[in-house]
C-alpha cells in the first residue's frame, strides 16, 4: 500500500484494527504500464526528491527507474490541473487510460494481529548552522546529496561534479557530526552511528568517480568504526591517502566567485588554519522521523527524549504496547546490517505472538497437472515484447517477429506491447494450449527479474517451468544501443536465434524439494543461544540447546548492568529458568558437537553428552558459540591484583563497593588487545563499558579522580549520552596514540600510569589505586564447528555471515544462522536482537514442511567414468564418488547431492568427457547458442 499512512491503531495484540489513509495516486495501478508517456508529456517540473532536489522530475513521476511498484503517480501539489484547473496532458497521452483525476483519498480499516513500525529516519537539516552557510554556499552539500552526485543513477550519471560550476572537484572535505553529538542549535545529543563510516566510504569511492588526483580530508571528533570489518576499512582508507584531521572547522565562507568553500579551523595546539576546498560535505546525522511524535500517539507507544521508540535491552524491538514492534532507525540511529537484523527480530516477535494463527490467512498456490513434453519435437512459441517504447523505440520489433517465424522449430510468434502484463500471461497460457507449444522464448527484458513470472505462466499452462528461454533485448540491447537502431535490430535477431536454438534443446527439469525436519539445534547456551532457543520453541518448534559447560548463561552471568542501566543477572537467571522448564526445549549441558551431515532442512549430528553419543536430526541450526574476554599480557596484568579487566572490575564493584569507594584515583586504559596488529578489530563495547563504570565510580565518590586513556571514544548511538554524563561528572579523558601507549610502572608498592596529555602538552603520572583494562573480546574457538559445517570464518576468528549488509544473521551454509559474540563483539541488546533475528530466519525454513529447491543442478551423464576430477573442484562439496557393480565388474561414478549443489557448473567445465551437465545450462545447450550466434558470421 503506497502513498498510505497509518492514522489509527485500535484493539490489542492479536486483534488490531489499523486505520490506513490512502492518498490518491491519480493513476490506476492496474492500467498503468509504466511506459512513461505521462511524465514525458507533463509540462510541470519539480525538484526530484530521489536526487535530493539536485535535478528535476515531472509532476507525473516515478520515484526512480527501478521503483517498486513500477507505476507512475501524479503529485497533486505540483500538478497544473490540480493547482490551476487545466492541462490534463497526461490523461490525453496515456495509452491505457490509466490517469484518473477523480480518485479520492480514502480511509480503510485493516485487521491485523500485530503492527511493526519501521518508518526510518529524517536526515538532519543543516540550515540551522548559520556558520556553515549550507543554504547559501552551493558547494557545501549534505552527505545524502553527495551520495546522489556519486551515483550512476544520479543527476550527473556517476561522474562527480560540484554544484556551483559543474567542474570536477579536486579537494574535498568532510565535516563529521553535523546534527549529531551536539546540543548547540539542535538537540541531538546522540551519535548517529553511521556517519563516520559513510564519510570514509564516500572518500574512498570518490576516486572511482573522478579523473586524476583528488585530495580528501575528513574532519572528525572521534572516528567510530566499531562494526565488523569497519576498523580495517578505516585503516585502509588512511593507507590510501585520505587525510583524517581531529578538528572541527567552525565556519565556512564561499570561495572566489561563489565557487568552492573557505574553511577556518583551529588545531589541537591552538593554531588557526584557513583552508580552501572545492567542495565540503556535511556528514549529517540521523534524526527520528519527522512524524515520530504523531506516529507514536497514533500507535500509543512511548518515545525517548530524542523521539526514538523506547525499548528494553532484553526486548530490543518491543515497544511499550504489546503486539507493536519497531525496527530500524526509529528505534535508534543505526547502520544497514543492524536495521536488517532488527527487521528480522521484529518479524520473529510478531511471529511468536501470532504463532497459533500461522498460515491461517495465506494460501498455497496450486497448478494444473503437467504435460510431459520431453519426447515431443520442439514446438517453439516466441513472444516479442515492445515494452511500450522501451524496446520498440529502438529495435524494429516487427522485423524481429517476422525473422523469428523463419527459425527452425518455431510454430508461433507474437508481439505484445507488454509481455509481462497480467493479461498477457493469460494470453500466453492460451496460446500454449491452442498451438500445443512445448518450448517458449520470451524476447523482452532480463530473466533476472522476469523469468520467475513467465515460469509461473508456463506452469499455469501445464508445462514444465524450465522450458523457457529469454532473449534480453531491452536491458542488454535497446537501452544500451539507443542511437543504433539498425545494429540493435540485427543484434536482437541474433539474440532471438540463439534463444530459439537453446530452447529447442531444453528439457523439463524435476522440481526438487527437501522435507524439512521441523526441529532446531542451537549451539551455545549463553544469552544469544538461550534467546534463540526460546524464540524458536515459542514459535512451536522443538529445539535442542547444546552447551559445552555445565551452566547456562555464558558471559552475561558476569555482567552487572546494560548501558541503559538495567540489571542483567536477574534477567538472565529468569531466562535460564524458562529455558530449562520449556516443554519444547531440550537442554544438553557438558555437550559437544561431534559430527554434522546433511543440509538445509535435514541435518544430522552426533552430540556427545557425558560420555554418551546422541543423534539429533534437525532442519536448521543456530550457532551462538560466543566469545571471551582477552586475557592481557600487557600493563602488568597478572603481576599486580590492582590491574583488572572489565569483568574482574565489575565483580569487584559488585562484591566490594566500599573498597572501590575509598579509591582516590582509578585509571581505565582502552583498546587493550583491540585495534592493533594481531587483533585489528574494534571490540565495540569497551568504550561504553568504561564510561559506564567511570560514571558509577563518580556516583560512589564524586571526589574520586577517574581517568580514561583512549584512542577514540566510541559511545555510538544513544550511548553518547553516557559520554556526555561522564564528562559532566568530571571524568578525565586522555587520548593516546597507538605508537605511544601509556606505561604502567610499579614504584615500591605504588602503581603508576604514565602517559602524554595532548591538550596540555605535558606528561601525566597518575598514582592508580586501580587500573582497569578495557580488554578485547575474542571469539571462542570454532575450528571444529567450521570444519563440520564447512562454513566460513573471517581472519579475526569471527564466523562469517552470508552478506555483510543484507544477510547479517544467515551463514554461508543454507539453514545455519548465527548470533552473538561468535559473529562480532556486541552488547546485550544487539546480541538479543541478533538472536531474535536468527529465530525469524530459522522460522522461514521451519514454516514449510517441504522446501522447494532450484532445479538448476549438476546431473551425472552416462559418460562419467568416475575419474573424480570434479570432486575436488566442487566448491560446495556436493559431489562424491560412488562404486557400483555391473556385469560382475566394479565401476566408479560420481553422485551429486542436490541439496548442496548450487548449479555453478564448475564440475561441467572441469570434466574432460561431458560426464556431468548442469540442468538448463548443458554443454549442448551452450554449444547450440554459440553456434547459432555465429551462423550470422
Amino acid at each position: 500500500m503506497t502513498l498510505s499512512e497509518v492514522v489509527g491503531v485500535e484493539g490489542a495484540q492479536g486483534d488490531f484494527t489499523v486505520k490506513v489513509k490512502q492518498h490518491p495516486r491519480y493513476i490506476d495501478m492496474d492500467k498503468c504500464i509504466a511506459c512513461g508517456l505521462c511524465a514525458e508529456k507533463c509540462p510541470k517540473k519539480v525538484g526530484n526528491e530521489y536526487n535530493e532536489g539536485l535535478d528535476k522530475r515531472k509532476a507525473a513521476y516515478i520515484l526512480y527507474g527501478q521503483a517498486v511498484p513500477l507505476k507512475y503517480a501524479i503529485d497533486a501539489e505540483n500538478c497544473i490541473y490540480f493547482q490551476k484547473g487545466k492541462c490534463r496532458a497526461c490523461e490525453k497521452y496515456c495509452p491505457t487510460g490509466a490517469v484518473n483525476f477523480n480518485q479520492k483519498e480514502n480511509i480503510i480499516d485493516v485487521k491485523v494481529g500485530s503492527v511493526i513500525l519501521a518508518p526510518g529516519f529524517k536526515p538532519f537539516d543543516p540550515t540551522v548552522f548559520d556558520t556553515y552557510d549550507y543554504a547559501n554556499i552551493p558547494d557545501v552539500v549534505t552527505s545524502l546529496e553527495y551520495e546522489r552526485l556519486l551515483s550512476a543513477s544520479g543527476p550527473c550519471m556517476g561522474h562527480l561534479v560540484r554544484p556551483s560550476d559543474h567542474t570536477e572537484p579536486k579537494r574535498i572535505a568532510w565535516l563529521q557530526c553535523v546534527g549529531s553529538r551536539g546540543i548547540n542549535k539542535c538537540d541531538n545529543g546522540f551519535c548517529s552511528s553511521v556517519c563516520c563510516m559513510y564519510a570514509i566510504k564516500q572518500a574512498i569511492v570518490t576516486k572511482e568517480h573522478t579523473t586524476g588526483d583528488v585530495e580528501q580530508t575528513v574532519y572528525y571528533m572521534d572516528i567510530r568504526s566499531h562494526g565488523k570489518d569497519f576498523e580495517k576499512y578505516y585503516v585502509d582508507a588512511e593507507k590510501k591517502g585520505i587525510n583524517f584531521v581531529r578538528a572541527r572547522p567552525h565556519s565556512f565562507a564561499p570561495g572566489p566567485d561563489g565557487k568552492g568553500v573557505k574553511t577556518r579551523w583551529v588545531d589541537e595546539q591552538g593554531v588557526e588554519h584557513n583552508d580552501e576546498y572545492d567542495m565540503v560535505v556535511l556528514s549529517i546525522g540521523l534524526e527520528a522521523p519527522a512524524d515520530a511524535t504523531a506516529l507514536a500517539e497514533t500507535a500509543d507507544i512511548r518515545l525517548d527524549k530524542y523521539r526514538f521508540a523506547e525499548c528494553d535491552s532484553f526486548a530490543p524491538v518491543s515497544t511499550s504496547r504489546d503486539g507493536i514492534y519497531v525496527a530500524g532507525c526509529f528505534q535508534s540511529p543505526k547502520d544497514i546490517p543492524q536495521s536488517v537484523t532488527e527487521a528480522s527480530s521484529a518479524a520473529a516477535c510478531a511471529a511468536i505472538t501470532l504463532a497459533e494463527s500461522r498460515g491461517s490467512l495465506t494460501k498455497e498456490k496450486t497448478y494444473p497437472p503437467e504435460k510431459n513434453v520431453s519426447a515431443d519435437a520442439p514446438r517453439i512459441g516466441v513472444f516479442v515484447c515492445s515494452c511500450g517504447i522501451n524496446i520498440a523505440g529502438v529495435v524494429k520489433v516487427d522485423e524481429v517477429v517476422e525473422y523469428a517465424k523463419t527459425l527452425p522449430g518455431v510454430v508461433f510468434v507474437e508481439n505484445n506491447l507488454f509481455t509481462c502484463s497480467s493479461d498477457t500471461q493469460v494470453l500466453i497460457a492460451e496460446k500454449i494450449k491452442e498451438h500445443a507449444l512445448n518450448r517458449i522464448v520470451v524476447a523482452a527484458c532480463t530473466p533476472r527479474t522476469h523469468e520467475p513470472l513467465f515460469k509461473d505462466t508456463l506452469r499455469e499452462a501445464g508445462i514444465n517451468e524450465y522450458l523457457i528461454e529469454m532473449a534480453n533485448i531491452r536491458n542488454q540491447n535497446s537501452w544500451v544501443h539507443g542511437g543504433e537502431p539498425e545494429k540493435a535490430t540485427a543484434k536482437a535477431k541474433d539474440q532471438v536465434r540463439s534463444a530459439v536454438a537453446k530452447a529447442g534443446l531444453l528439457a523439463p527439469l524435476e522440481y526438487l524439494s527437501v522435507n524439512v525436519v521441523q526441529k532446531a539445534l542451537v549451539v551455545g547456551g549463553g544469552l544469544s543461544g538461550m534467546t534463540a532457543a526460546l524464540g524458536i520453541a515459542d514459535m512451536g518448534y522443538e529445539t535442542v540447546l547444546l552447551e559445552k559447560s555445565n551452566i547456562l548463561g555464558g558471559n552475561a552471568l558476569r555482567l552487572n548492568k546494560t548501558w541503559k542501566g538495567e540489571e542483567i543477572k536477574p534477567k538472565v537467571e529468569a531466562m535460564v529458568r524458562r529455558v530449562e522448564s520449556h516443554p519444547k526445549i531440550k537442554v544438553l549441558k557438558n555437550a559437544a558437537l561431534k559430527t554434522a551431515v546433511g543440509s538445509v532442512g535435514n541435518f544430522v549430528s552426533e552430540i556427545e553428552v557425558g560420555g554418551e553419543t546422541l543423534a539429533v536430526n534437525y532442519g536448521v541450526g543456530v550457532v551462538a558459540t560466543g566469545g571471551a574476554e582477552y586475557k592481557p599480557t600487557e600493563y602488568l596484568y597478572g603481576h599486580d591484583d590492582r590491574v583488572k579487566t572489565h569483568l574482574e572490575f565489575d565483580a569487584f564493584l559488585d562484591v566490594s563497593p566500599h573498597a572501590a569507594k575509598a579509591a582516590q584515583n582509578v585509571v581505565f586504559i582502552q583498546c587493550v588487545g583491540s585495534r592493533e596488529p594481531g587483533r585489528p578489530y574494534c571490540s565495540r563495547v569497551c568504550c561504553t563499558h568504561s564510561v559506564e563504570s567511570a560514571i558509577e565510580l563518580k556516583k560512589l565518590n564524586p571526589e574520586m579522580n577517574v581517568f580514561i586513556f583512549n584512542r577514540d571514544i566510541r559511545t555510538y548511538g544513544l550511548r553518547e549520552d553516557l559520554y556526555t554524563e561522564a564528562r559532566r561528572l568530571g571524568v578525565i579523558f586522555v587520548r593516546y596514540e597507538v605508537e605511544k601507549k601509556p606505561k604502567v610502572i610499579k614504584d615500591g608498592d605504588a602503581l603508576y600510569v604514565v602517559g602524554d596529555d595532548h591538550i596540555l602538552n605535558t606528561t601525566l603520572k597518575i598514582k592508580a589505586d586501580y587500573l582497569v583494562l578495557a580488554s578485547a573480546i575474542v571469539p571462542n574457538q570454532t575450528k571444529e564447528l567450521v570444519e563440520l559445517y564447512k562454513c566460513s570464518v573471517g581472519a579475526d576468528g569471527f564466523l562469517t555471515e552470508a552478506h555483510p549488509k543484507l544477510k547479517p544473521v544467515d551463514m554461508s551454509v543454507d539453514g545455519l544462522f548465527l548470533a552473538g559474540l561468535c559473529h562480532y563483539p556486541k552488547p546485550v541488546d544487539e546480541a538479543v536482537a541478533q538472536a531474535q533475528a536468527a529465530v525469524s530466519r530459522a522460522g522461514v525454513i521451519l514454516a514449510k514442511s517441504v522446501m522447494p529447491l532450484d532445479s538448476i543442478k549438476s546431473m551425472v551423464t552416462n559418460k562419467c567414468d568416475g575419474c573424480a576430477l570434479c570432486v575436488d573442484t566442487c566448491p560446495y562439496k556436493a559431489i562424491s564418488l560412488t562404486v557400483y557393480v555391473e556385469n560382475g565388474r566394479e565401476h566408479k561414478r560420481i553422485a551429486t547431492d542436490k541439496a548442496l549443489c548450487k548449479g555453478c557448473g564448475i564440475c561441467m567445465a572441469t570434466c574432460p568427457k561431458q560426464g556431468v551437465d548442469v540442468g538448463g545450462f548443458t554443454m549442448n545447450q551452450l554449444k547450440a547458442q554459440v553456434e547459432s550466434i555465429l551462423l550470422g558470421v
Binding site: G65, Q66, A152, S153, M157, G158, T446, P447, R448, T449, N472, R474, N475, Q476, N477, W479, V480, H481, G482, G483, E484, K487, A488, A490, K491, D494, Q495, S498, I856, G903, C904, G905, I906, M908, A909, C911, V918, F921, M923, L926, K927, Q929, V930, E931, I933, L934, G936, V937
Partner: protein, 67 residues
C-alpha cells in the same frame, strides 16, 4: 576495411555479477557498441574450455568470459 570492421564477440556472462552488470548498464542507459553477443551462464566457472575453442573455430573474433 578498418572503418567497417565489426568483430563478433561471444560473451559468457555470470548470472550473478557480469550479467547483472549488463542489466544495470541498461538501467543506467550506458551506451556501448553492439558487437558482443551474451550467453548467460550460472557461473563463469561453468564455461568449458571447449566452448571457447569452439566459438573461435566457428568464426568468433573474440571470446570474453566475465564473472
Amino acid at each position: 576495411m578498418a572503418d567497417t570492421y565489426e568483430p563478433v564477440i561471444i560473451g559468457f556472462l555470470c548470472n550473478w555479477c557480469a550479467y547483472a552488470g549488463g542489466d544495470l548498464a541498461g538501467v543506467s542507459r550506458l551506451q556501448y557498441p553492439t558487437n558482443m553477443r551474451a550467453i548467460r551462464v550460472m557461473c563463469s566457472g561453468m564455461v568449458h574450455p571447449n566452448l571457447i575453442v569452439d566459438a573461435l573455430r566457428k568464426g568468433a573474433d573474440g571470446v570474453i568470459v566475465m564473472g
